[in-house]
Symmetry: C2
Amino acid sequence: MLSKKSQYAFKALVYLTEKYNQGPVLISEISRKKKVPLKFLENILLELKKAGILDSKKGKGGGYFLKKDPAKVKVATIIRLVNGPIAMLPCVSLYFYERCKNCDEKKCGLHDMMIEVRDASLAILENRTLKDLAL
Amino acid sequence: MLSKKSQYAFKALVYLTEKYNQGPVLISEISRKKKVPLKFLENILLELKKAGILDSKKGKGGGYFLKKDPAKVKVATIIRLVNGPIAMLPCVSLYFYERCKNCDEKKCGLHDMMIEVRDASLAILENRTLKDLAL
DNA sequence: TTGATTCCCTACCAAGCTGGTAGACTTAAA
DNA sequence: TTTAAGTCTACCAGCTTGGTAGGGAATCAA
């Protein structure tokens, strides 16, 4: 399951997508409109900025805004960033791979099935962007 | 991601599938062969018994064994039992549904996408059984 | 009927994660 | 130089995860 943090992140990103190219948006505005706890949202947005998804301006007239075209920000990227692995097992994760102890990947039925599940999920998540979410 | 507990549960179930119809298997044997901590495994097997997946016999010659034909025990069932929801959001879960606050499901892009992901995963997990894992 | 064997049950625990909050600091515009 | 913003560090309660400890209860065989 996606954490609350991830859900908040998506709410904020969808909001910023709707305001794309309209200048910086206040944290407090996002918090109010999307009903996300202010201080928690601060942390999340900062993290998204450090990851290169968002950018910000300080001082009056400041706020957060998308750094890239929302049509180019994949949902899978956001999930990996805020929530972690998409796969159900470390041994089938593309970005967070860890081999499993005491289990030969070449003849592990669970392994094979989880690769299928991963690919089925990625077929969707890698081909949807923030723009698709905002419709 | 699946918890360690879930991974241990699958290891044990696959082992018991291989020993299906060969009488009770000792917890200690499963623990040894599958490298799962003994006392932790006890808890897991007991839970699977209470859920009706396994049955057991006490005393000499006792142990655990599958209650049903492994070809009839779906992987999705085990995951829900030991790990929880398969969906990525409560508002798209079939067995653990909770509506989301401050979000209209009818016009939530995330919601729609997560339903797709859920269905793609279930198409696999609902159609695989313990028998498939054991091959 | 006693003893060995085996699962069953309750309790406990450390460490890490989740979902936050508090408050001071820095930057930039007016 | 004041004020409006984001930034940073620190802190916290409660829950979950991944276990461990130890005895109790059922069963079987001798």
